[in-house]
């Protein structure tokens, strides 16, 4: 084909027309908010099945359903469907007051019976609630007017905190009984700020604002959440204007994108932490080796070099937002001390102690690279660690079977910020999530499970954290920072739990 001026012009006009037609209109005013989310939503029931305990999808659930007791963006506890709650004097019963004037998305009124049914349902082992072990600690749940009461079978000081956490959602009794599990999955309703308008599995969910929301109607009347699981695709989504908001992208991309015209960024710490489990086997039975391993890691350097400064170094399993955080517990970066400790056990750079460290690769930002850097720092003091990469599923299996390697990198989420759900479950020997079997830690933790005095309980956990840090029974590394990039036309309020919540977004 010969290229004439006429054909060139025709091609140019056609291309320009095509570009104009196909270009997303998001570049202008934002009528419908589009979010590129990093995970898929497998199931709509937030109280049963494995999805119910998946922290990464709680943002979807919190958009449609209400937690009994919501958490504010700073993780403080707010007033939700449950407006007041407490224990009786001898902790043998609990009471809860249910908010009045709340309606389900289908217009039915929410009643105390919904709360009774929801709590009884997840306490029943046959429904498959993964958190049945918490909800099963109460029985005889009854409603009297707007007040719900229950007898306590086993005292758990964190019971009400679980009402802000995994599976702590109120479900619609009447509707669920009418439509059944399959019907609910096809057309879920809640009392939350958004209603499900359309759901395409593995593709997107379209939400419509709940104008009757008891907490006030959200600003964006229509929200589409696309499931874009590939980080590079999420970057392209927001850079091209196809999506207004995205999260969990590489920090380098975050820095690049937020500097672009029309885009902005917010990067705040969330309740997820990075840590190295130490299994008290092989070399890790030697306290000198453990302490040396802990003192040889320059957490600040790792955060600066690998995470572009987005992270907060921690020395216990508590972040500064958690109830039992104690800034006085520190584990200093001291390679000379590490060398001395190793020397006491007969190890040096010429005769290094050897063990295996397991890590995921790509599950969390720079996880493998961080472990590589740690192994490099260890080598300088006389520790030779062999890296084994595993999938997260294998980590769970090995951890449950107490078969992790002497060292294993992992991340831990604890949005309610209670020490039982961080130090407690990670370090208490009988827990399926712990690989530490030391008797001293077991003895220190055991009485805290049922401690009724809250101040004493929190102080007790601080003592446990101090004991663990002094004996280097785990190596806490950092609190993660969540990068969120958004169009300048949107104002995003990040939530410390890591959940990206559209009802907290307003026009910028």
């Amino acid at each position: 084909m010969k290229l004439s001026r006429r054909s060139l012009l025709q091609t140019g006009v056609a291309a320009a027309t095509l570009a104009t037609v196909a270009l997303p209109s998001f570049a202008q005013a934002i009528d419908e908010l589009v979010i590129a989310y990093n995970v898929n939503l497998p199931s709509w029931d937030p109280t049963v099945g494995p999805s119910a305990v998946n922290p990464t999808i709680q943002g979807f659930y919190q958009s449609v359903f209400d937690l009994y007791i919501p958490q504010n963006p700073d993780l403080s506890f707010g007033s939700g469907i449950i407006t007041g709650y407490g224990w009786n004097d001898d902790n043998s019963a609990i009471w809860m007051d249910v908010r009045e004037g709340v309606t389900w998305h289908n217009g039915d009124p929410l009643t105390a019976e919904d709360v009774v049914w929801s709590l009884s349902r997840v306490a029943n082992p046959e429904t498959g609630s993964p958190i049945q072990f918490v909800w099963g600690k109460i029985e005889n749940v009854v409603a009297d007017g707007n007040r719900v009461t229950a007898d306590v079978k086993e005292y758990d000081p964190t019971f009400f905190k679980w009402m802000s956490f995994l599976t702590g959602y109120v479900m619609p009794k009447k509707y669920y009984e009418e439509v059944g599990a399959a019907g609910f999955e096809a057309a879920p309703i809640g009392t939350g700020p958004y209603m499900v308008e359309k759901f395409e599995r593995n593709a997107f969910v379209r939400l419509k604002a709940n104008e009757n929301y008891w907490g006030g109607a959200p600003e964006f009347k229509s929200v589409t959440i696309k499931f874009v699981t590939d980080a590079a695709s999420r970057v392209a989504e927001v850079e091209s204007g196809n999506s207004h908001v995205t999260l969990e992208i590489p920090y380098e991309e975050y820095d690049r994108l937020k500097a672009k015209d029309g885009l902005a960024g917010v990067a705040e710490p969330i309740s997820d932490i990075g840590m190295i489990f130490l299994n008290d086997i092989e070399a890790m039975t030697d306290p000198n080796v453990r302490k040396a391993a802990a003192h040889a890691i320059d957490k600040g350097l790792i955060i600066d070099r690998l995470l572009s400064g987005y992270g907060i170094a921690i020395d216990t399993l508590q972040t500064p937002d958690y109830a039992a955080y104690d800034a006085s517990i520190t584990v200093a970066y001291d390679p000379e001390l590490a060398k001395q400790l190793l020397a006491k056990s007969g190890f040096s750079t010429d005769n290094p102690v050897k063990f295996k460290i397991q890590t995921t690769k790509g599950f969390k930002p720079k996880d493998y690279e961080m472990v590589q850097a740690i192994v490099g720092l260890w080598r300088r003091v006389g520790i030779e660690a062999e890296i084994e990469v595993y999938e997260i599923a294998k980590h769970y299996e090995l951890r449950a079977a107490d078969q992790l390697a002497p060292a294993a990198f992992y991340n831990w989420g604890n949005s309610v910020g209670d020490p039982t759900t961080s130090t407690g479950f990670a370090m208490f020997g009988p827990s399926p999530h712990s690989v530490w079997d030391g008797q001293a830690t077991f003895d220190a933790i055991l009485p805290l499970w049922g401690e009724t005095n809250e101040d004493k309980r929190i102080e007790g956990w601080k003592g446990v954290d101090r004991l663990i840090a002094e004996n280097a029974e785990v190596i806490p590394l950092l609190q993660y920072v969540q990068p969120i990039v958004h169009a300048t036309g949107v104002k995003v309020t990040p939530h410390r739990s890591g959940a990206l919540l559209p009802h907290l977004m307003t026009r910028g």
């Binding site: 095509l18 570009a19 196909a22 270009l23 997303p24 590129a36 898929n40 497998p42 199931s43 029931d45 049963v48 494995p50 999805s51 305990v53 082992p125 993964p130 958190i131 049945q132 072990f133 918490v134 599990a181 399959a182 999955e185 359309k198 395409e200 599995r201 593995n202 593709a203 997107f204 379209r206 589409t224 696309k226 499931f227 874009v228 699981t229 590939d230 695709s233 392209a236 989504e237 850079e239 091209s240 204007g241 196809n242 595993y390 999938e391 997260i392 599923a393 294998k394 769970y396 299996e397 090995l398 951890r399 449950a400 079977a401 759900t421 407690g424 479950f425 827990s431 399926p432 999530h433």
Partner: protein, 337 residues
């Protein structure tokens, strides 16, 4: 007769193949590390809780018992219930299959069109500069894997010149109630041009990413076959009759040269379907491949089994179709007794 024999033989081997795949998949995914129960253990789970969960999902039985239970369900059309979605597996995979099929078929059409055009042009202008250029293009197309083509296309037509959609299968804002999951074919039948435009806008980049390497293979093989055919007597005869070179290639040489390419396209098409796993993930396309990755990450054993069996069935059906087409198109086989 040959056609019937081929069909029956393939049917028997298909059943045996599927059974073999079922056994292998069932055993392998239970042997590899990554217990689905361990992934959903609550923080304070006791041994009793773990045993209860194992029983709830049927993992407390031996692998043989589990297999027999599963197989007896499969023969009745029940592939079990997905652990992660709590939905019947059969429904989940059959809902996603059309998306993958549409993407694969459109990719194949692109590949055939691009590869065929390159082969015809390369043959028409053989031994010249044009053939050299086509060889270089085909070499480049083949040496870059499909997922990298995907990233290149996203960068070019998603970010730098954003003319196509980067993710999904259809615009969420488009309100249309489909009767089937074959969105594109249904939109064509209903003459909904707005929907066709939207679907093609979503499908173009993933389809191209899948098609480009296959197009290169088709171009190289078909060109080689055409060039060999161009020296045969009947082609020379056509030339002496005064046919133009283009007509000689398309009318005389192509029908015979296409047969070896067809077999290869069949084999490569199965690879193309396999390639959808990564490409669908990259483009957040709601097909079987995307679902397969989630199933593996979540260790959703019933769903993995269902998807693998369906992929295996697809592969055997594609091979069967190719075999039948080969018999139909090849006069020697067609007339064999």
């Amino acid at each position: 007769m040959a056609l019937l024999r081929t069909f029956l033989l393939r049917l028997v081997t298909t059943i045996i193949t599927l059974f073999g795949v079922a056994v292998i998949v069932f055993v392998v995914i239970r042997v590899v590390p990554g217990n689905p129960i361990a992934m959903m253990l609550p923080p304070g789970a006791t041994e009793d809780d773990i045993a209860q969960l194992q029983a709830l999902y049927g993992f407390d039985k031996s692998i043989l018992e589990q297999f027999i239970i599963w197989l007896s369900g499969v023969v009745q059309g029940d592939f079990g219930t997905s652990i992660s979605t709590r939905q019947p597996v059969a429904g989940l995979v059959l809902n996603r299959l059309p998306a993958t099929l549409e993407l694969s078929i459109i990719s194949l059409i692109f590949a055939v069109l691009m590869g065929g055009t390159m082969a015809l042009l390369g043959t028409r202008y053989r031994d010249g500069k044009a053939e050299g250029v086509i060889d270089v293009i085909a070499g480049m197309a083949l040496s870059i894997p499909d997922f990298l083509w995907g990233l290149i296309l996203i960068l070019l037509f998603g970010v730098l010149w954003p003319v196509f959609h980067i993710s999904g299968r259809i615009s969420p804002a488009l309100n249309i109630d489909f009767s089937t999951q074959f969105y594109l074919f249904e939109a064509i039948l209903r003459l909904r041009f707005d929907v066709i435009y939207d679907l093609i806008g979503h499908m173009l980049m993933p389809a191209l990413a899948l098609a480009i390497p296959l197009a290169a293979i088709i171009a190289q093989l078909l060109k080689q076959s055409l060039k060999e055919t161009m020296h045969l007597d009947y082609v020379t005869l056509a030339r002496t009759k005064g046919y133009s070179e283009g007509k000689v290639i398309t009318r005389e040489a192509l029908p015979n040269a296409v047969l070896p390419t067809l077999t290869l396209v069949g084999v490569q098409f199965t690879f193309l379907i396999g390639g959808t796993v990564i490409i669908e993930r990259l483009f957040s396309y709601e097909g079987l491949g995307n679902m397969a990755i989630d199933a593996v990450i979540n260790r959703d054993l019933p769903l993995i089994q269902g998807i693998v069996i369906l992929f295996a069935l697809l592969f055997t059906l594609v091979n069967l179709t190719v075999d039948i087409l080969y018999v139909v198109l090849n006069p020697r086989l067609r007339n064999a007794r």
